[in-house]
């Protein structure tokens, strides 16, 4: 969840930013390895498309490296990268392309099913089946959430951001964050309970 960065993390980040600003190639490797999991998760949470999220995050890293000199360090590098990722996800051209591809891609739902990996803890077939079924139903319900509501849910669930932080990231009011998050939860639970 939302951790307070330790002093050593902050120093390492400063050092990384300095090296990126100098254009040192290996620092690009460090940047990608350090933040890709987190950004891919956010991008996937918003777009719900693996290929799309991979493309977006690759663009984010390239953009970040090219524009590192504009990074003022008034927020953390993670916060900056997160903002770029969200903006890219919401970019309308991608949205249009995504809608078109989704409509004409019969194999995408198959890909989603392949993502459900079995937990090693619950080996009982019935438990596994119920868990898998729940996850599938959850993802179906998440896909139906309006994007702006899903975005708030993603930032809360994946990044553990407070309402204040989410509000700042998305330039919306704190009250709006609260109501959108509640709306996401209400809709998801209603959808899941209807399938039961």
């Amino acid at each position: 969840m939302n951790k307070i960065e330790s002093n050593s993390d902050a120093i390492n980040e400063q050092d990384l930013v300095k090296r990126l600003q100098k254009g040192q190639e290996w620092s690009f490797n460090v940047l990608v390895n350090k933040y890709q999991d987190r950004l891919l998760k956010i991008a996937y949470g918003v777009t719900l498309d693996r290929e799309e999220s991979l493309e977006i995050v690759q663009d984010v890293f390239i953009s970040a490296f090219k524009n590192i000199k504009t990074f003022r360090q008034d927020a953390s590098l993670a916060t900056w990268l997160r903002k770029i990722t969200i903006n890219q996800c919401l970019n309308w051209k991608r949205k249009w392309k995504r809608r078109f591809k989704w409509h004409h891609d019969p194999i995408e739902s198959e890909n989603d099913k392949n993502l459900f990996k079995e937990s090693k803890k619950d080996n009982d077939p019935e438990t596994l089946y119920r868990k898998k079924q729940f996850e599938e139903n959850l993802m179906t319900a998440i896909k139906k959430l309006p994007e702006k509501i899903r975005l708030v849910f993603v930032l809360n669930a994946f990044e553990g951001l407070s309402y204040e932080e989410i509000a700042k990231t998305l330039n919306i009011k704190k009250g709006t964050v609260s109501s959108r998050l509640y709306s996401a939860r209400k809709n998801l639970i209603n959808s899941l309970e209807m399938k039961d």
């Binding site: 392309k97 078109f100 591809k101 004409h104 891609d105 019969p106 194999i107 995408e108």
Partner: protein
């Protein structure tokens, strides 16, 4: 400086005037490619290499097979037919030019009944893709290019 630009523009316009082809003698070379796109095993026909990047940026199909490659030597208002799979026919007719674009009328018939008709202004030496009726677990795409001579 302004006078200098005016002189240059004058000579440019002269060049444009002389570059327009005489309509009466214009021949249109129309090239129709019938493509079967599907989500089957990855395959791209060598004859489609030029347009595949554009199609792949829009479609998620993984296999693109060239079913038919037909070249038509046409004059304006000459209608030609291309037989398509699934009892379909493509009828194509260039009518005239508008600037550097060829005006085409394109009709797709199924069982002799017109199901789709469009009028386009195709940039010279460029192409348009129309699709896609369902066919054999995939769709048909028709890539039509035109060149005025």
């Amino acid at each position: 400086m302004v006078r200098f630009i005016k002189i240059i523009l004058f000579f440019l316009s002269i060049a444009c005037f002389f570059s327009q082809p005489a309509l009466a003698k214009t021949k249109i070379l129309t090239h129709v490619k019938v493509i079967h796109a599907s989500t089957g095993p990855r395959y791209v026909d060598p004859g489609l290499k030029k347009i595949i990047p554009e199609l792949k940026s829009v479609f998620k199909y993984t296999s693109y097979r060239l079913l038919k490659d037909q070249r038509l030597d046409q004059h304006f208002h000459q209608k030609d037919r291309v037989n398509l799979p699934g009892k379909r026919t493509l009828i194509i007719m260039p009518s005239d030019m508008e600037g550097k674009r060829i005006r085409y009328q394109i009709t797709i018939k199924k069982n002799k009944r017109s199901v789709f008709q469009t009028r386009v202004l195709l940039k010279n030496n460029s192409s348009i893709t129309i699709g896609g009726p369902q066919f054999n677990d995939g769709v048909l795409l028709f890539n039509i290019s035109g060149s005025a001579k």
